[in-house]
């Protein structure tokens, strides 16, 4: 039952169980028992809940059930890290054996949620690349190891994998278990002050307020706090309230950012970049330098005001790249640029796109406004109602800065070993890629672009979103750019003419 289906492996590590303490963690979080909740609801509804006795009994029953499920799951789950693969066996009645060959493993992540930390446990995620056909990535999770065992598993899997990759006998000997660390970045708590200007962190307190107000409405009237609304007609009260709300919002954003990013550290250890972050759940992510193909520097509208930015690495075959690829979650732009330089060579300053690109951005930005205005004009002629016309004019006027801003974001450049493209108004993203990252080019030209002598060039990459576009490049520049960015094959001016 427990032999790994991996014949070529000389020695098979005996399958191990996770720490028994994980049973407690899963009992508390109702991890397995959650699945039976949908089935339990109609039963409870039929029996009816009245009196404290029934409630206590229900809670006890659910906890006992949870304990039972957690214990069974723990008992039936084993894992083994052999030199050739990681094997996880689970399943109560129907056994499932998942074997992830080492050459498909792309990374190992160790995370420590709060409860796990209380019991001294960790959760290990082994990231494996699925075939390119499905495009998805697989993930094998081993939940509830002791910290020491988690570290052992991580290093064991990673060293096995390297041993599998290096087949060249003349290659230098493998690095030692713990090579020297070089710290590349460390989170400065002052950077948390940028958080109120980042949309994703602002969403945290807003969501909390939403949940709170829902909860307040659900409460029975007797328990609802008796708040007499302040006198909103008084401008002073209104202003103070508004200011207070903004302050709370900012505070919430800072708190949210702190929970996710506290103690962020990026180090280079041997051939890997290791990122650690998180206040409650510590996340430990390892990226292989060999698989890094480039990086993205993104700046939101608010972040640009204070010159803040974030950097993500583009790594081939990395699942959940947005979360795991983070090399700098939030920080000053200068620091972001420096870290981007660690990932990939700086190709030089960006080249602006031709004036035709600005005309096209403007036309697209005011197009909808003009359409609404035209409809509004018809309406004025027909019924004399001018509301739509006014809205259309406002939209058109707003479209001008929008179009100009979008144009200002456009840029591309090809350097000696790397190239960069940039676009985006709300979130301006500059992606810098190594030459070897390119697995193909796609050039698109609509009818309008053809008339304006423009084209959109997409660098196809086996990392990140799969494609990075230079929008509205001058048509004549397409050939030189693709050739400079990826080598002579991309000119496509060879045989056949």
């Amino acid at each position: 039952m427990t032999t790994a289906p991996w014949q070529t492996v000389p020695e098979v590590t005996a399958p191990r169980r996770t720490s028994p303490l994980v049973v407690l963690v899963h009992t508390i979080t109702f991890r397995q028992a959650r699945q039976v909740v949908p089935a339990a609801i109609p039963v409870v509804a039929a029996v009816g809940v009245d009196g404290p006795g029934v409630v206590v009994g229900l809670v006890l029953a659910v906890t006992a059930l949870s304990l039972l499920f957690a214990t069974l799951t723990w008992w039936r789950t084993t894992y083994a890290d052999t030199p050739g693969a990681v094997v996880v066996t689970r399943g109560l009645l129907a056994r499932s054996v998942r074997t992830v060959p080492n050459d498909r493993i792309r990374g190992v992540e160790v995370e420590t949620p709060v409860l796990h930390r209380l019991f001294g446990l960790v959760r290990v995620r082994v990231d494996a690349a699925a075939g390119s056909m499905t495009g998805g990535d697989e993930e094998v999770v081993v939940d509830g190891l002791t910290r020491a065992e988690g570290d052992r598993l991580r290093t064991s899997v990673l060293t096995h994998r390297r041993a599998g990759v290096v087949t060249d006998p003349s290659a230098p000997p493998l690095p030692e278990e713990q090579p020297a660390e070089e710290e590349l970045a460390r989170f400065d708590p002052r950077w948390l002050l940028y958080a109120p200007l980042v949309a994703s962190y602002l969403a945290v307190p807003l969501a909390a307020v939403g949940a709170l107000s829902r909860l307040l409405q659900e409460l029975p009237p007797g328990l609802r706090p008796d708040l007499t609304g302040p006198d909103l007609t008084d401008t002073r009260v209104l202003l103070t309230g508004l200011l207070l709300a903004l302050l709370l919002l900012a505070l919430g954003a800072v708190l949210g950012a702190a929970v996710v990013n506290w103690g962020f550290r990026l180090v280079r250890r041997g051939g890997s970049l290791v990122a650690v972050r998180g206040l409650l759940t510590r996340r430990h992510t390892e990226l292989e330098v060999d698989r890094v193909r480039g990086g993205t520097l993104s700046e939101g509208l608010g972040m640009r005001l204070v010159r803040a930015a974030r950097v993500g690495a583009l790594v081939t075959g990395l699942g959940a790249a947005n979360r795991r690829g983070q090399v700098l979650p939030l920080g000053p732009r200068a620091e972001a640029v420096r870290l981007l330089g660690v990932l990939v060579d700086d190709p030089g300053p960006l080249v602006a796109h031709p004036p035709a690109a600005r005309r096209r951005r403007l036309a697209r930005a005011i197009g909808s406004g003009l359409a609404v205005s035209a409809a509004g004009g018809l309406l004025v002629a027909g019924t004399g109602w001018w509301g739509l016309l006014a809205a259309g004019v406002v939209l058109t006027v707003l479209g001008v800065p929008l179009g100009l801003g979008r144009y200002a974001a456009l840029g591309h450049v090809a350097g000696p070993r790397s190239f960069a493209v940039r676009s985006g108004l709300l979130v301006r993203e500059q992606t810098v890629l190594q030459q070897r990252a390119v697995v193909g080019w796609q050039v698109r030209q609509s009818v309008f672009q053809r008339r304006a002598g423009l084209a959109t060039v997409v660098a196809c990459v086996g990392a990140g979103t799969g494609g990075y576009a230079a929008i509205d490049v001058a048509a004549a520049d397409v050939g030189p750019f693709t050739e400079a960015a990826s080598g002579s094959w991309a000119t496509a001016r060879g045989a056949g003419g």
Binding site: S132, V443, R444, G466, G467
Partner: protein, 171 residues
Amino acid sequence: MSAPPAPPVRVPAWSLSRSAIWLWVTQGVIGTLVYGVLVAVLVLGVPASTGGPLPVLRWLLPVLLAVYAVVAIGVRPWIRYRVHRWEVTEETVHALTGWLTRTWTLVPVARIQTVDVTRGVLQQLYGLASVAVLTASSQGTVRVPHLEVAVAHRVADDLARRAEQVRDEAT
């Protein structure tokens, strides 16, 4: 803008099979029939006395249908055939597709991961097959539609063999 603009990338040399035109015509006929049934149901099923925008739709929809039929059967297949090009060189696979918006795709043989040959129902009627050249990037796929079956298989075999020989470890 005045001067007829040059294409941003060299146009590949080879055309598709001429049967592709008839396949696209067939698709246009099928599409027209489907929309025709829908329009007929709407025009005949809705009583003439209803108000709102329906009286306008009664003549607008058939007109739109006629325009669609002319474009999809009489114009688009020929434009498509003229636009679609493909070529396999020493180093690259190269395709140009589209009819209004044109898309060039260029992939080096060394980065090819898999080559697929697919035959749809209509394609089987006309003895055609499509070739898709896949890479590690979801966007870096070269699709050459509607080649003759023998050509498609020959190209796929040739590419798969060459990719095997020159494939580099990088993705």
